[in-house]
Amino acid sequence: MNHGLKDRVAVVGMGCTKFGDRYEASKEDLILEAVKECLEDANLALEDIDAYWFGTFNSEISGVGLSQYLKTENKPVTRIENYCCTGSDAFRNACFAVASGVYDVVMAIGMEKLKDSGFSGLNWWIPDGDKTEPEIAAPSVFSVLAPAYAKKYGLGFDELREVLVKISEKNHYNGSLNPKAMFQKAMTPEQIKKSPMAAAPYLTVMDCSGVSDGCACAIIMRTDAALKHRQDPMYVKGVNSVAASGYCKLNIDYDFTSIIETANCAEQLYRQVGIKDPIKELSLAEVHDCFTITELVLYEDLGFSKRGQGWKDLLEGKFSIGGKLPVNIDGGLKSFGHPIGASGIRMIYESWLQFHGKAGKRQLDDPRLGLAHNLGGMPYMGITAITIVGKDLG
C-alpha cells in the first residue's frame, strides 16, 4: 500500500547553479555553488545536515563522490541513479528519510558534469552484456513516438512539425527570461526549422534538450520542524514513481502514442494528493521535455489534455506563459539544460522561486501548487517520478 507523503515534509532551502557549458567549473565547484546558495537560503550550516541523498547519473560513483568534496564526517551519503529520474529519486528518498523520523534534516542534491567528454549528444552508458541491442541515440529513442502520434491522430507531417516547432519556440522563449538557463536566446520558428536533423524526420537539434553541466539541491525537514525554522517552507504534497515492466517494449498492443508509466504514476499521485483537474489546480508544471515530442505526449499523459488533443491545446497557447497552465516556464530541459542528476531538483527549484516571489521576469501572479515530472530511460521502458509541491498546508 502506497500511503503518500501529504504535507508530512517540507523544503526549507534550495540552491541551483547556472546550467550550461561550465568548462571553468569542476564537479567540486558545481556542488559547492549549489550547496552554498542552499545553506544561505535555509539559514543552516553543513553540520546541521544529518544525511545526504546524492543523485548523479554517471559523473561520480558512490556517496563518497559527494562526501569527499563537502568534507562531511560521520554522515551517511547514498548515491542515487535512476536514469534521468535521478534528481527526483534523490529528492524522494530524502523525503522518506525525514518522514520516517530517523533523521531531522536532510539534503537531496543532484549533480552532473557531462560536457568534459566532448561527446556529441548524450552518451548512454551501455551495461555489459551481449551488446546485440541496437545502439539508438537518445533523440531517436523518443522520436519513434512522433510518426505513431501523427498516424493515430491524423496529423500530416507538416502539421506535427508545426506543433513541435512551437514547443521548441515556447521553451526557448521561456529560457530567455531565466538568468540560470543554458540557452537564453529566444528562437523563431524559421531558425528552429533550419537546424540540422537529429532524428529525422521529426526532430532537429533544436527539438532536443541541451546536454549540460549543473547542480541543484534542497534541504528537507518534517513539516512541524520546518515551520519552526521558517514561516514559508514549501510543502511536499506527494512524490510518486513507477518503473516499467517492459510491457510496452515487448508487446504489439502498445502503440507509441503515450508514456504509460507516466500516465499511471500521475493518476496514482493525483489521487493521493486529491487533484481532480490538474490543468485547473496546478499553477505551473515542469515536465521532462528531453525532446519536443516528449512534451507533447506528456500533456496528455499528465492529464492536462485529453488524448489526441494535446497538440491543439498547445497551439491555443494553453501551456505558454499567460496560458491556463504554463509548462516549463523556466525553459525546461530544452533551454535550462539537462545535467541528468540535477534536473529533477531543478524542476522543484522553479516552484520554490515562484512561491517566494523570486522568479523575476517569469513570476506568476499567485502560484500555489507546482508539479515536477521526470522521466528516465525510454518512453517504452523507463521510469517516471513526479513530485507535487505547494505553498500552503492542506
Binding site: S117, F119, T132, P134, S140, V141, A198, F256
Partner: protein
C-alpha cells in the same frame, strides 16, 4: 541415389553500376552492376541468407548431419563459421561442421565432400559465400561482386542425381593472397589461361567424360566457374563444346562472386532445367573438378521463390563509388565523438545464443504471450518461469514505428531504427536495412535478416535486423 536435394541463393540488395567506377577514374567500363554487400553483411551473413532460402526457417532445419561453409573471405582466420551457421539455423549440437577455405574451388570441395557423406545416408548443407576485396582502379574491382549460394546434398528426394566427378590438383600461382594480406593478387592472364585454367579444366572434363563414356552431345548444360567470359570461352573449343550449352555468366548483373560463383551458376541452371538433363559442372583453383549431374523428375518441387529473377529485380543501384569505398573500408574517416564501443560480453553472448543466433524468444505457457527477448517472468500475467522456447524466424512482421537516427554512430548514417511487430505477438527493436528512407512507412511488411552488429577486439557480433519484405 545421391545428389542435390535443395538449393538457394543470395545476392546483396545494393548494386554499384560499373559506370561509377569509370567516372571515378576517367576510364571506360563494361556495362552492368556489381552486387555489393552492405556494411553489415559479410560472407557469413550472406551464407546464412542463402541457407535460409535453401532450407527455410521452420524450427530446426530438416535432419541435417553436417553444415559446411566455403569462402576465400571468411570473417575469421581462426574461428569456424560453419559452427556459427549451424547455430543460426538451430541445428547445432550433434552435427558435423567444417569450413573450406583458401581457394576459389572451395565451394566445389565442400560439395564433393558433402556428396561423399551423402553416400553414407547423411544430409549435408553446403554454403559458399565470398566478399572478395579488390584494389581500387583494378580490373578485378570492375568484375568482382559479393554473393552466396547454398545447397543440400543427400540420398532422399534427390532433385539432381550425382553421377560422377573427376578431380585434378596442381600447385599453381595465378591467384593468391597471403594470410597477412587483404587483397588477392593476380599474375599475367595469358600465363594463367595457357598454363593453368585451360589445361586443368580440360583435363578434368575429358577425364570425366571418358570415364563415363559420355559425348558432348549428351550434355544439356555446361556450368563453368569462369572469372570472365573470356575464360569460359577458352575452354569450350578444346573441350569440344558448343557455346550455346554454356550457362550464362552472372558477371554482368552481379559480378564474379568468388567461390560462390560456380554454385550460383549451378542453381541458375537447375532453375531452368528439365528432368533427364545432364549437367556438366566445372570448377577451377589449384586444379579442377568436373562433376556430372542428372536432373530428376522432382526438380521443380523445391525453391524459396527467390531465384535469379528475384535477385535481378530486388535491388537498389543508386549508390555511388564513394559509398562503395566506404563500405569496403577503403577510406579513412574521422572517428565519431561518441563513447568507444566495447566488445560483446562473451559469456553473456553464449548464455543468450539461442536469442542472438537463432532468434529465439520465449512464450508463456500460462497466457500464451510471446516474448522477445526471452524472459523468466511473463510481462503480461506475471507467471514466474512458465516459459517455453519460441522461434521468431520466418514469422510475418510489420513495422510499428521508426526513426532516422542521425546522432548514433553509423557506417551509413542515418541508421533506420525500427520497431518490428510479429504476427501472433512479440516485438523487436532493431534496424531496418536495405530500404530507402522515402519507402519507410508504419505498417509495411518486414522480415528478419541476419547481419553483423559490430566488431571490436577482433570479435564479430552478429544478430538479427530486418529488411522490407515482399513475399
Amino acid at each position: 541415389m545421391v545428389g542435390i536435394t535443395s538449393y538457394g541463393m543470395y545476392l546483396p540488395f545494393n548494386r554499384l553500376e560499373r559506370i561509377h567506377i569509370g567516372q571515378a577514374f576517367g576510364k571506360r567500363t563494361p556495362h552492368g552492376e556489381k552486387a555489393v554487400a552492405n556494411y553489415d553483411e559479410d560472407s557469413l551473413t550472406m551464407a546464412v541468407s542463402a541457407a535460409i532460402n535453401c532450407i527455410g526457417t521452420k524450427g530446426s532445419a530438416t535432419a541435417l548431419n553436417g553444415v559446411y561453409f566455403a569462402s576465400t573471405t571468411p570473417p575469421n582466420r581462426e574461428k569456424q563459421a560453419a559452427a556459427h551457421i549451424a547455430s543460426v539455423l538451430n541445428v547445432d549440437g550433434h552435427i558435423r561442421t567444417s569450413d573450406f577455405n583458401s581457394t576459389l574451388r572451395s565451394g566445389t570441395n565442400a560439395m564433393l565432400a558433402a556428396l561423399d557423406a551423402a553416400r553414407h545416408d547423411e544430409e549435408i548443407l553446403v554454403t559458399a559465400a565470398d566478399c572478395r576485396p579488390a584494389y581500387a582502379d583494378s580490373s578485378y574491382e570492375i568484375s568482382f561482386g559479393d554473393g552466396a549460394a547454398a545447397f543440400t546434398f543427400g540420398n532422399h528426394d534427390v532433385i539432381a542425381e550425382y553421377i560422377d566427378s573427376y578431380s585434378v590438383s596442381y600447385d599453381f600461382y595465378d591467384v593468391w593472397c597471403s594470410s597477412d594480406e587483404k587483397y588477392p593478387h593476380f599474375f599475367d592472364e595469358k600465363f594463367s589461361l595457357d598454363k593453368g585454367y585451360v589445361p586443368f579444366t580440360v583435363e578434368s572434363i575429358k577425364g570425366l567424360m571418358k570415364r563415363n563414356d559420355i559425348t558432348q552431345e549428351q550434355i544439356a548444360k555446361i556450368v563453368i566457374d569462369a572469372p570472365s567470359d573470356r575464360h569460359a570461352m577458352s575452354i569450350l573449343r578444346p573441350a569440344g563444346f558448343s557455346p550455346g550449352l554454356l550457362q550464362e555468366s552472372l558477371i554482368k548483373d552481379f559480378g564474379y562472386t568468388g567461390t560462390a560463383n560456380a554454385l550460383l551458376l549451378l542453381a541458375c541452371t537447375l532453375e531452368k532445367s528439365r528432368p533427364g538433363d545432364l549437367i556438366l559442372y566445372v570448377s577451377y583453383g589449384e586444379g579442377s573438378d568436373a562433376v556430372l549431374f542428372k536432373v530428376c523428375e522432382n526438380v521443380n518441387n523445391i525453391g524459396s521463390g527467390r531465384g535469379l529473377d528475384y535477385f535481378k529485380n530486388n535491388k537498389k543501384n543508386d549508390m555511388n563509388y564513394e559509398k562503395y569505398l566506404k563500405w569496403k573500408k577503403m577510406m579513412v574517416f574521422d572517428p565519431p565523438r561518441r563513447m568507444a564501443l566495447t566488445r560483446s560480453n562473451l559469456p553473456d553472448f553464449y548464455r543468450k545464443r539461442k536469442k542472438n543466433l537463432s532468434c529465439q524468444g520465449s512464450k508463456c505457457t500460462e497466457c500464451g504471450t510471446p516474448h522477445y527477448p526471452p524472459s523468466m517472468v511473463c510481462v503480461k500475467c506475471k507467471a514466474i518461469e512458465k516459459m517455453e522456447p519460441y522461434s521468431f524466424k520466418g514469422r510475418h512482421a510489420k513495422l510499428a514505428t521508426f526513426a532516422f537516427d542521425y546522432v548514433a554512430f553509423s557506417e551509413d548514417s542515418p541508421n533506420i531504427v525500427a520497431v518490428v511487430d510479429f504476427e501472433g505477438g512479440g516485438r523487436m527493436f532493431t534496424y531496418l536495412m536495405d530500404c530507402a528512407m522515402n519507402d519507410v512507412v508504419i505498417g509495411m511488411p518486414v522480415e528478419l535478416t541476419y547481419r553483423k552488429i559490430f566488431s571490436v577486439d577482433g570479435i564479430h557480433t552478429y544478430s538479427w535486423k530486418c529488411v522490407p519484405s515482399n513475399h
